[in-house]
């Protein structure tokens, strides 16, 4: 999804006219049909994606408060946003969360994929087991781990207590809560990224390894000199996808910590949700924050395209 091959013009006019020519030119060229085929989807895309995006951008410059007519506000929403301590707290938490989540995802998904790749026995079973958490809805992931990490009735602290390791308040102490949130998101998504890296591993040209072995390279040499450099495009995809996932995190946190303790795990999407749908409602402020989130995601995509293009030119 990250580096998309547009494949524009694959159905070339020359190929078409050649094949119709061979059949004696009897065929009429369909003129209306193509538009009818794309119309339903384009209607839905326009109504539920393009128009809301344009309108949201416009509304970020308006005071839109429930029960009042909207009026032009200039940059007031953005000014209110950058002077809101809660907004900066959400930004800081989001950055902490994204950096921790992405870095650990890259390292652990690569490690898991390398282990799986060289495993012979029960490989399919391990792969399926690692993928199980990916199937579980984020809401349920949050409930599940809230239950496990609960200090009084949770399994983890009961286990730690039994072996004499104390009972940390995983979701009550702010730093532990952020760490727990990162861990839970890793738990829930690692199987997906592992499969992506595994796909990348399987497309590495085996002759590279044979050449290395002829030269007497060790397994470590192979990993550092061949595997990781060849994996670079795949790991780039993992970084992009996990960064976007991290910036969008909200659902499992809603049931894991509710954004607490004291807002320590309130990320940017929850900030938007809270201002848009929890009274007192301030749509303008929420859309201004949305525009900033979009700009961040857009920048990430551009960086991705730039890197992809440089790689293609090299």
């Amino acid at each position: 999804m990250a580096t998309v091959d547009l494949g524009v013009g694959r159905v070339t006019p020359s190929r078409r006219s050649r094949s119709s020519g061979r059949r004696g030119g009897r065929r009429r060229v369909p003129r209306v049909a193509p538009y009818l085929f794309v119309l339903p989807n384009m209607l839905a895309v326009g109504l539920f994606a393009i128009w809301p995006a344009v309108n949201g951008f416009r509304e970020s410059f308006f005071h839109v408060i429930e029960g009042q007519p909207s009026r032009f506000a200039g940059l007031a929403n953005y000014r209110q946003l950058v002077t809101d301590a809660q907004f900066w707290a959400a930004v800081r938490s989001t950055l902490e969360f994204v950096v921790g989540f992405v870095a650990l995802t890259v390292v652990l998904a690569t490690a898991a994929a390398l282990l799986l790749q060289s495993q012979r026995r029960a490989k399919g079973l391990f792969r399926a087991a690692l993928y199980v958490p990916v199937l579980i809805s984020p809401v349920v992931v949050g409930i599940l781990w809230n239950w496990i990490l609960n200090p009084t009735s949770g399994v983890l602290d009961a286990l730690l207590h039994r072996v004499g390791l104390g009972q940390p308040s995983w979701l009550v102490e702010p730093h532990l809560a952020m760490g727990s949130a990162i861990f839970v998101e890793l738990w829930a998504t690692l199987g997906f990224y592992t499969l992506i890296v595994l796909g990348g591993l399987q497309s590495i040209d085996p002759s590279l390894y044979e050449a290395a072995r002829v030269d007497g390279a060790s397994s470590w040499d192979e990993i550092w000199r061949i595997t990781l450099p060849s994996l670079r495009p795949t790991l780039l995809v993992v970084v992009i996808l996990s960064t976007i996932t991290g910036f969008q995190a909200f659902e499992f946190i809603y049931t894991l910590t509710g954004g607490g303790p004291l807002g320590a795990t309130t990320l940017i999407v929850q900030y938007i949700y809270d201002h848009a749908f929890v009274p007192p409602i301030n749509f303008g402020l929420a859309t201004a924050a949305s525009v900033l989130l979009f700009l961040v995601l857009f920048a990430i995509t551009l960086v991705n395209l730039a890197i992809g293009r440089r790689k293609g030119a090299a």
Binding site: V4, R16, L115, S118, R120, S137, L144, L201, V237, A286
Partner: protein
Amino acid sequence: MSTVPFARTGRRRAGHRPGQPAPTWTSVSGRRPPAPAAVLRTSLLVAASLLAVAPVLWIAVSSFKPLPQLLGDPLSLPSSLSLANYRGGFQQFDFLTYFRNSAIVTVAATLLTLALSATAGYGLAKYNFRGRNGLFVLVLATIMIPIQVILVPIFQVVVDLHLVNSLLGLIIPPAATPTGVFLMRQAFLSIPDELIEAARVDGAGEFRTFWRIVLPNARASLAVLAIISVGWRWNDFIWPLIIAQSPGVYTLPVALGLLTSQQAVPYNFILAMVVASMIPVIVIFLFLQRHVIRGIAMTGLK
């Protein structure tokens, strides 16, 4: 360490190369004992798999515990395998309604996604028309505007359409997905033009050609898209959370999320419903694992 890139389970058993260590070691035929590296690798994989699966198994086991045991003794096994928690959840708290809503939304939205993606993908793959590339780029661009970014304005559109607090409001807006259009377009590109030409020469109309000739040839991609879509819609939370405003239209994730945060339902019932909500997706995965993995290769990497 083997570096043979094997894609299928069948090949690796046969794929023993000369000059490499024997692929299996449990036989009694006097082969070498396992290397320390292999033991370490398998142990790490076992540990990782346990970490992935154990919480799910533990919640499944615990969902049979009565409330006092659940809260008081987290490490114990259930004293009996009573279905009381499941009965209570379904009978006292309307979970049957939430289950039904989730099922309706998942099936209807997936059918709609298949229809929209297949038609648009075909139009973009197999016709030359003015504006085609522009439309395709427009569809792809929407990858960059996920629902979290347009939460407020898309909600306003649904308000204007009077679809708030209705199942249709849960089904229609998420159904048009750029991933689906992209996936189906790729599938149709690989179908030879000659097949379509032949149908036209035989006098079939454009839609008939699509329905009778083209679509059956894209079954595999339709299956992948259906599986992806079912997973998305069954697990959706943020969109149903803002659209479903009364319990009659709650889906399972919304009900579980709200009831948990309000602490309105005893925890043993919540756990039972959590486990019940996981079953359909896990069963589908177990049966269709190969398609799921292929789907990731197709959408994650393309």
